[in-house]
Subunit: 461 residues, 2 copies
């Protein structure tokens, strides 16, 4: 064990340091289950400990990769044998809740679900929600600016954070634990760290914004005959349910057909012969009135032939059944193995054209083996695209990536809507960001982490 690790053990104690098998048995990527290669995992129990840890690492020029719940999918948590991992797992407390101010102060290692439940206990809600809620941590949600299923109503993680405490690469603690909705006293420093994937600082604590609880949920699964109908339906729902629309998820036929045929896990909600499907959800406070307004919009959509069929969830198990089709990634992984998964965004009006063109390019190159599944947060301009060409080689991956990402350029789309860049998308960053933008990112990285010790090589080469 090297000298640095001895010194770090003095700071965090024996239980604060993991070595050998305890490191290797951790997987650093949700999809690949790749094993953690770091020389040790350091688990501080306080901001002060982490500050001391980073002071020593800075002096020793020791690179550090920060770990949260390890549910990321872009190799953002990969650590090499010469790197240390800092895990926030022992800093998982909810420190304070202010029911009048609608805020919750937490440590970075707390899980999203724990925060959601604590908000529910005081009849409020924490608005971020995503499939990995049980494992992902608030620190990770912040570092990656997590999105999820309610962005259309509440925004991404960035909008849920009022205050932040961060440890810089040299051990400096920058505490900006603001609790107010409005604070224009100088630069809003927390914005820099959100979405920076651990490359500019290590998030230790946060003040989160809470919203009123919305006990009334209305959920429908609808069949949509064309892409034009789908955008008109979005437009109608946005207008008629403007205040309450909380999710508008689109499923291409290839996604729904696979989910209801490849497995017996999901009962077919509707016939699988429609070109598109959508999940529409509203959140409100008056179940009776909300249900009436919701049903009337669906009727209007039926009359206007924007939808051809609909299932309205009349119980929470029916609601879960609808969402299960959307959230069940495991069935996709199983059916499309080996698969490549993408998370892109582009202007909604160009989506159909983009997907159609992409599909024909893929089919031209792999006519026998290619399968494509498309679904996503239509209202946010965000699509998830899953491709298999039944070939797991790096060559095949690279060729598919070039088609998926390359086709985005003409629409000014983004190679990453919500998953981040990590290592996986780094080489394609130039397709979504200009040389001037990338130069400015590097200037910022250099200013914030001059030795390049924080999550080296992620986002920027």
């Amino acid at each position: 064990m090297d000298t640095l690790i001895n010194s770090l053990t003095d700071i965090v104690g024996k239980t604060g340091v993991l070595l050998g098998d305890d490191v290797a048995q951790r997987s650093v990527d949700w999809f690949t289950k790749a094993s953690c290669q770091a020389k040790a995992i350091i688990r501080p129990q306080s901001t002060e400990q982490l500050s001391q840890v980073m002071t020593l690492c800075y002096e020793a020029n020791q690179p550090v990769v920060t770990h949260g719940g390890l549910t990321g999918v872009v190799h953002g948590a990969v650590a090499s044998p010469d790197e240390l991992v800092v895990s926030l797992e022992l800093m998982n407390q909810i420190e304070h809740i202010d029911a009048v101010g609608s805020t919750m102060q937490v440590q970075a290692g707390v899980t999203l679900q724990h925060v959601q439940e604590a908000a529910q206990e005081i009849d409020m809600q924490f608005a971020l929600d995503l499939g990995a809620r049980g494992s992902c941590t608030i620190g990770g949600n912040i570092a990656t600016n997590a999105g999820g299923i309610r962005v259309i109503r509440y925004g991404m993680m960035r909008q849920q954070v009022l205050g932040l405490e961060v440890v810089l690469s040299d051990g400096t603690v920058v505490s900006s634990m603001n609790t107010m909705l409005k604070n224009n006293a100088g630069y809003d420093l927390k914005q820099m760290f959100m979405g920076s994937e651990g490359t500019l600082g290590i998030v230790t604590r946060a003040v989160l914004r809470l919203h009123p609880n919305m006990p009334s949920e209305q959920t429908a699964f609808v069949a949509v005959p064309s892409f034009d109908a789908l955008t008109s339906l979005l437009k109608m729902a946005s207008k008629e349910l403007a205040n309450s629309l909380s999710a508008f998820e689109a499923l291409w036929n290839n996604h729904y057909a696979l989910m209801t045929s490849a497995t017996t896990k999901h009962t077919a909600l509707l016939a699988n012969n429609s070109l598109f499907y959508a999940i529409i959800e509203t959140l409100g406070s008056d179940d009776e009135k909300d249900a009436e307004a919701f049903a009337s919009v669906l009727e209007k959509a039926l009359e206007a032939e924007l939808i051809t069929d609909a299932v309205l969830a009349s119980s929470s198990s029916q609601r879960e059944g609808i969402w299960a089709v959307r959230e069940d990634i495991e069935t996709l992984v199983h059916a499309l193995d080996p698969m490549f998964s993408y998370d892109i965004s582009l202007p909604i009006t160009h989506m159909d054209e983009y997907v159609t063109a992409l599909e024909s390019k893929l089919k031209a190159q792999w006519p026998e083996t290619c399968e494509l599944v498309v679904f996503g947060h239509l209202g946010d301009g965000n699509l998830h695209i899953i491709v298999t060409v039944r070939d797991a080689s790096q060559d095949a991956r690279r060729q598919v990536e070039e088609l998926v990402y390359g086709s985005l350029v003409k629409y000014n789309g983004s190679i990453s809507a919500e998953h981040g860049v990590g290592l996986e998308k780094r080489d394609y960053l130039t397709l979504s960001r200009s040389p001037e933008e990338i130069a400015l990112m590097k200037r910022l990285k250099q200013a914030m982490d001059p030795k390049g010790l924080l999550n080296p090589g992620k986002i920027l080469a």
Copy 2:
């Protein structure tokens, strides 16, 4: 005329340069009407022109102050005789509207009101709103992260901006004209520039987010017997009108009493003997249902004795009458001359204690002359405090400032909720931000504007 101005004239043309009286007749501060002292005002007509202007200024080490609509109140637009002003007034076009994607692409010099009206024309809304809407520009709204009256529902300016184009001090154009709600492809650079008051870059264009139009407005003016009742009312309104609550403005008695007695401009809406008043507003799409829900919450609040009386606007002129009491700053300026105006934020639960303590300190020091008026965006933790001690001297101002800002420290309040820092609050920044935060701001400023040419001395000394 110096050589640099000659060269700049070659770039922007004769109409693009203002000199002499044309400069001096502009006031750089809404309250003080102080005259512009800059040696010239440069008015580029395109991003390319501005880039060339800044390239020359950078080479010549020429400091530059950016002007928008000049409605700021913290001396953020003050320019000295050795500084140049860059005004975006000739770049005032709306370039593109995407009704499906709900975005509007504009030049920085367009007024807020113009943007609001263009959104209305396609039956949508731009959600930022504030009293200066007719003069203030989108570029200024971005540079100061403007707040206003609908933050509780839609957030500040930061939340309305999807994409940004900025010219850096050396003339580099950084174009991040993202149009999607979600884009995690690398650092979200635009966040740095928002709220930086022209000290990090010059905003030239933006992609704004539009929201569905909300044709149904419900507005009430209510009398509230105590501060506890006021926070309970906020809590009730936030919960029962969760999706639609768009404004919750509080008026202390001193504000309302003055507005209805100092002038005959405003008809008294309610008797002026209540400790607090509030304006509650919702935005929705169904006037009949919204009115019903709104009235039922007011009834519930009456029954719970959270309010003692209420006026419900039944016409748009009544609505305007209610808002006029809140938005009429001129009557305050007239009645309290010479006045000092503050814009602070602090946790809602501490507001009453803070105001009471501040008032007694002020009255102790100026028993004969001191008057205090308090109102603001309660739901955002934001209060506007206006003080007169009938003494316009710098000494008096400084003493009042020390009481107003000094008393905030124990509550972790902010010296600026929405107005920014400019020159006016610069010396008090240390009361709201830690040495580590200020050091990081300076590090950022150094990285982005190494020669210190952009709005020198504003925010940071």
